[in-house]
Structures are given as C-alpha cells and as structure tokens.
C-alpha cells in the first residue's frame, strides 16, 4: 500500500528517526489488533504469534528511541511519519487476516511488512542528501534485510498445509455470491 509519492518526506536525521519510530509504533498497534482479533475468535496460537511480533517491534522501537537521543521521536512520529493515502509500510495488512489463518500465513503477513519497510528505507538511501540521515538509512536497510531473512526462516520452519474455511470449521459461514 505504500509507494514513493505516498510516503512521508525525509530530508534530515530527525525526520528519519521520527519516521522509523512511527513505522514501528504502527506495526506494534497493528499486531496488537490482530492478536486481539485472534483471541476474540479463539485462535490462541495465532494470538500468541502476533503478541510475539508486537514485542519484537517494541524492541526495535526502543532501539530507535535510544539512537534518537534528544530527538523526541514519540512526539515527532505522528507529525512526520504519516502516509498520505495508504498505510505505514510495516503495519500488517488487516484485510489479509482470517480467523482460521495459520502461523505460516501470519508470518507471511509479517514478511510482507518487512519487505515494504525495506523498500522504503532503500528509497530513503537513494533520495536523502543529508549524510547522517543516509548513514542511518543504510543501517535500517541492513536491519530490515535481517528481519526479512528471519521471516523466511520462520516460514520454512512453520510452513504446513493451510487451514481453510469449511475444512476445519464445522459451522463455517457461507460466502454469498
């Protein structure tokens, strides 16, 4: 959902720190929402996966706060880190969720977010002129690459045949149309 024209403008180090922090905050919020949804629909296995993903993003957010030092990224993030039309890149796509989704599907959702974040920071490396901001963007690109690789590893470990509506749910809703 994110593309270059839609993305916030990054020209300084503090812009980049604020946007990077907001990306993590949006990702945390989304994973918590998904965990809540899965708890509501009694998919406790997936709820735990989404809570773990939220915790992981929380660690990344804390790291960015540490890097930011005196820059108040929590205040700046909502101001400068908004996507004009679409959605924050690492925020999981809620429309892909399903009450009987599997662990591998949840991890694919996380992978898609990490790939969008990677693409965003790669674009910042290309476009930003400030040398400090470019250095940090390169560092963030490397981190996102590690996250992408980690998601691939986890998906390989957990990839099982997908559970499907109507197969394991004895009282599945009947889609119309």
């Amino acid at each position: 959902m994110s593309d270059k024209a839609d993305a916030p403008s990054v020209s300084t180090l503090s812009d980049l720190l604020a946007v990077a922090y907001q990306i993590e905050v949006d990702a945390i919020e989304r994973y918590k929402m998904l965990a809540e949804q899965m708890e509501t629909h009694n998919n406790v296995e997936l709820a735990a996966v989404f809570r773990d993903l939220a915790r992981a993003e929380g660690i990344h957010a804390a790291e960015i706060r540490r890097l930011a030092g005196d820059v108040d990224v929590a205040a700046l993030g909502p101001e400068v880190g908004q996507w004009m039309t679409g959605d924050s890149p690492e925020a999981a796509d809620l429309s892909s969720a399903h009450y009987m989704m599997s662990r591998a599907e949840a991890l694919r959702m996380a992978l898609a977010g990490e790939e969008r974040a990677l693409a965003f920071f790669e674009e910042v490396v290309k476009s930003v002129e400030d040398p400090e901001a470019r250095e940090l963007a390169k560092q963030l690109v490397e981190e996102e690459r590690e996250h992408v690789e980690l998601c691939h590893q986890l998906i390989r470990r957990h990839d099982k045949p997908l559970r499907r509506l109507g197969v394991e749910d004895p009282d599945a809703p009947e889609p119309q149309g």
């Binding site: 959902m1 503090s14 919020e29 400068v80 809620l94 809703p173 119309q176």
Partner: protein, 277 residues
Amino acid sequence: MSAEPKPAYKASDFKSDIAPIWCPGCGDYHVLLSITRALAQLGKPPEQVAIVSGIGCSSRIPAYTNCYGFHGVHGRALPIATGLKVIRPDQTVIVTTGDGDGYSIGGNHFLHACRRNLDLTMIVMDNHIYGMTKGQPSPTTEPDLDTALTPGGTGLRPFNPLVIALASGANFVARAFAGNIGQTTSIIVDAVTHPGFSFVEILSPCVTFRPDQRSWKTQVHPAPVDATDDPARAARRIMTDDGFNLGVLYRGNRQPYTPKFGGSGCDLSELEREFEL
C-alpha cells in the same frame, strides 16, 4: 526540520477498552483506525464528540471509541443524531452506519438528513450486503449476486447513495476505501470540518460473506478531477464513474440549518386562544 508542538491527542485517546468482535479481515477495523486518527487530528477532546449508530456490524463503532456514543435502533441513527445536534450544537456529531441500516431501513431518514443540512457527518461502511445477519442483499447489492436467499440474484437495480445524497441536498460528498487509511482519515477530517451535512461512503469489504470484495483494493483509484461545488456536475460524474473513484467528489456551499431556540416568534397566549372551544 524544527520540533513542532506535541499533538494534543493521539488516536489511542479515542479508543475504548472494548475489543472489536468483527471478523478478522473486515474493512471496519480500518474504518475504526481512520475515525480515531481523524478525531486526533481534529484535536477535539473525546467528550466533545458523539458517535451515533443504528444496527449492524458498522454500528458497533460507538462502543469501540470513548467519545459519547449511542447505539440506536435499526435505521434510526440519523434521527437520534439530528436531535442531539439540534439540542447540543457544540458537539461534533458523527453517524456510523452501513448500507443496510443507512439506506434500507434508514433510507427515508437519509434523504431528509441530507435535505435538512444540519452540521453532521454520516459515515457509511458500504459492503453491499447485510453482514451481521449472514449475507442478505442490501440496497447496494449487485442485481445478479446469487445468494442463498436470492437464487440468481434480486434482479434489482442498486441504489446510488452518492447521487441520492446530492439530489437530496447533502453539502459534502466523498467516497473512500477502508484499506486506504491515510486518505480515509483526511476525508473524515475534511467531512467533519465542512459545514453542513457531510456524507462519506467508505467501501469496506465484508471478507466473510463477500470474499470477492478482497479485490477492491486493486480496483479503487483516485478520482481524476477535483471536487466541484456544482451538484449537477458532481452527479453526472458519479453516475458515469465505475464506483471506485475515491476522494472528495462534491463540496457545496449551502448554509447549514441551525434551528433557533428561545422563542417561536409567535405569542403563545394567542395560539392558546385559537384552540379555545
């Protein structure tokens, strides 16, 4: 970039502690996010905002926010909101409804709310189906949608809510897509700040009973032209578009209706005399 003042409110300030019970994948989760973000941007405290709804999946929104809320009866969100706005014009009043609640059971109220042009915002989460009651056709359902209750489809022409809103006098008409959170947020801000009756149709997929609507995210596109203040031109554009044009489509300049209180302008004792037997 210089440090800007910290925003007064965050989206989370407008969320209640109640966990939504919509189906995972439902577009209404996105709409809830957009509404809370819009309210944060508007900068009004939760107690200066009232969200009024009828019945249906979309009508659960008031419970999920911590503004004033009223979960009304089926189709009657607009009369409740109208009464509230008349007596408390200081409140920002937002109606959240769906295509069944808002256009079918509440269809008549929709027409007259547009006509009255009170300073309200109506947000309709349109999924072209009754989701809460398991998939009956609504006024915006396609005529050939083959459902369990309507084998072969209803054969009925769908309602065009945006054109009807224009014809009835709505002062602001926009279409959004739930998944475009940034754009939907800014449209809601725009709708609430525009004077008069603002109508926002949000295409909000029902992934359970209309899984085909998952493709909406690839079908929507920005409206090719800016909003007009000419309702006839706006209506022509909407009637000839593909139903997936997004953005503010009409921005009118009618004065909102503001009822006067503190006197009817006539002498009550004279009126009493007219009723004397």
